[in-house]
Symmetry: C2
Subunit: 323 residues, 2 copies
């Protein structure tokens, strides 16, 4: 049996040398994938002992003499997963960091590199979406889901947002609509007749975004347009995706997956494409069209409580560690 | 309750007029999809009464004055599904027929327009396959499966062929290998250890072809290479395709479907592309690299026995009606 011990420790800081960048971390969220990585159920398994956390924002304290892209005072976010952001300071290699503009709110910067990037890519890379087209998604209240709603709304793309039924569902629906969601429905509502009326108002979705799997994913497929695509980026239900053969053959739907970590690795040679994405997202943030999800800010010392809170079901607030 | 009555009838022949083509049918197979169409479970539902059969070969008896692409004596096959080939003669429109070279054996011509075309397109349109690459397929003994084996072998592409266990399985393995199959294994063998050794000899498949669905499809996915594609063209098990979420996200596999009828409709404007495919397939037939599946030739009058024989499980011989 493996036991994961999690504790706050003082470790030696590496030398900055010629190529290193000394960064003071400012804020870092706790994402579900961070927990999976600690549990050992994520495809990236760092050598132990390891520092947790894959997202966050820091400020450059000092740079090595050969560093050209960053200077003291710059805000930075991780360029890839596995950096270990839950710490007060560290020395990182230049290529592991992306520069953030100074006017982006800290919490937005700390939560930009996974969820909004995932939403941005899924809305860009799988179907050519025109204003007026529609997208259907489950897990609409997740970090990715909220980013999808906002980025789609900014592009004039209609969203049909599926959420699990819960005690405060009307409040949730109201909140997602205030972000720009066109329609918010529960999984039960999606199964019932009312959706027939829905598709009189807006076109059937050409793109479905699946963060849940199981029956929820099958239900998205059922409403997808002929020749549409379903992109799976998560499996919160821990159930596989079940696809009727007729949907593949006669409806000609396509299924694929998206993993931001892989995308970043596949595009590490193409820094312009990465920068363009960050620039676009920062512009949306400045225009008030992309906000961070509801966050609970927690001092690093209280990390145990934050970890526990992040694992509770129906958590609407993301835990953010402040260093 | 709907009852399907099937009988042999004399019906009036349409006028040839300026644009019609009077065709004497020579041979037409009974395919599983023909049966599905009669049962009403196929997405094409002709108005009743209707003539069955979607494949076959005929000979032009007479052409209308304005017909330019065909002349008396030409061999023809259907350009699309739904033509109704189980008859002795008919008057068809010019655009519903494709010309066949005169040197192609009748049974090959009669069985060319669905299965070999499906195999050809699935090997061409989804992944760029180089000689030495490998493809995995289930239903390897089906009409499509046998065509996949032969077309792949002609291109130097390795095939891993999965068949259901059955009394004469060794004989079947031998027969498929004689067609050019590199590896023939039962579903049970695929689940067990021996396949680890298999992938020491040949690369993991970049393309999986699924005519079965259910567990068999999930098993194909398990052996697919990173970023590979599974194309579903049939669902003989009547079970949906179940995809682990991790295969989509972390292995980045893609799933799509293929339906020859839809492809032909999507490409009806592109006659050159259709002709190129027929020419390529006819060249393979001439070189002995593509043979028709084992056939049982039956006079049209014995259609009832042929229909019954075609619906028996583990049928290895395709029923061909001779007019």
């Amino acid at each position: 049996m493996s036991v994961f011990c999690f504790s706050l420790k003082d470790i030696d800081l590496a030398e900055v040398g010629d190529f290193g960048i000394h960064v003071k971390m400012l804020a870092a969220p706790i994402n579900p994938s961070d927990i999976n990585m600690i549990q050992g159920t994520y495809p990236i398994l760092p050598d132990l002992p390891a520092v947790g956390g894959n997202e966050g924002v820091g400020q450059v304290v000092k740079t090595g003499r050969s560093v050209t892209s960053l200077k003291t005072g710059d805000l930075v976010i991780p360029a890839d997963a596995g950096l270990g952001t839950w710490r007060t300071e560290a020395v990182f290699a230049e290529e592991t960091l992306l520069k953030m503009p100074p006017d982006i709110p800290l919490v937005c910067a700390a939560t930009l590199s996974v969820n909004p990037c995932t939403a941005y890519r899924m809305l860009s890379d799988f179907e050519i979406l025109k204003p007026g087209d529609s997208v259907i998604q489950n897990a609409a209240n997740s970090g990715v889901g909220q980013a999808v709603i906002q980025i789609a709304a900014a592009k004039g793309i209609k969203t049909i947002n599926v959420v699990r039924d819960r005690p405060n569902v009307l409040e949730l629906m109201h909140r997602l609509k205030s972000l720009g969601a066109d329609h918010v429905i529960t999984e039960d509502m999606l199964r019932k007749l009312e959706t027939k009326d829905l598709f009189k108002k807006i076109p059937k979705p050409v793109l479905a975004l699946n963060g849940v799997g199981g029956k929820s994913a099958t239900e998205l497929l059922r409403h997808l347009q002929h020749k549409g695509t379903m992109v799976t980026y998560g499996g919160m239900s821990k159930q596989p995706v079940t696809v009727p053969v007729s949907a593949l053959i006669f409806k000609d739907v396509k299924l694929c997956g998206f993993w931001m970590t892989q995308w970043k690795r596949d595009h590490s040679w193409n820094k312009e494409k990465v920068k363009d994405m960050i620039t676009d997202l920062c512009n949306l943030i400045r225009m008030g069209q992309l906000t961070s999800p509801a966050c609970q800010e927690v001092p690093l010392a209280d990390y145990q409580a934050a970890l526990e809170a992040s694992m509770k079901p129906y958590v609407s607030a993301k835990q953010i560690l402040l260093m």
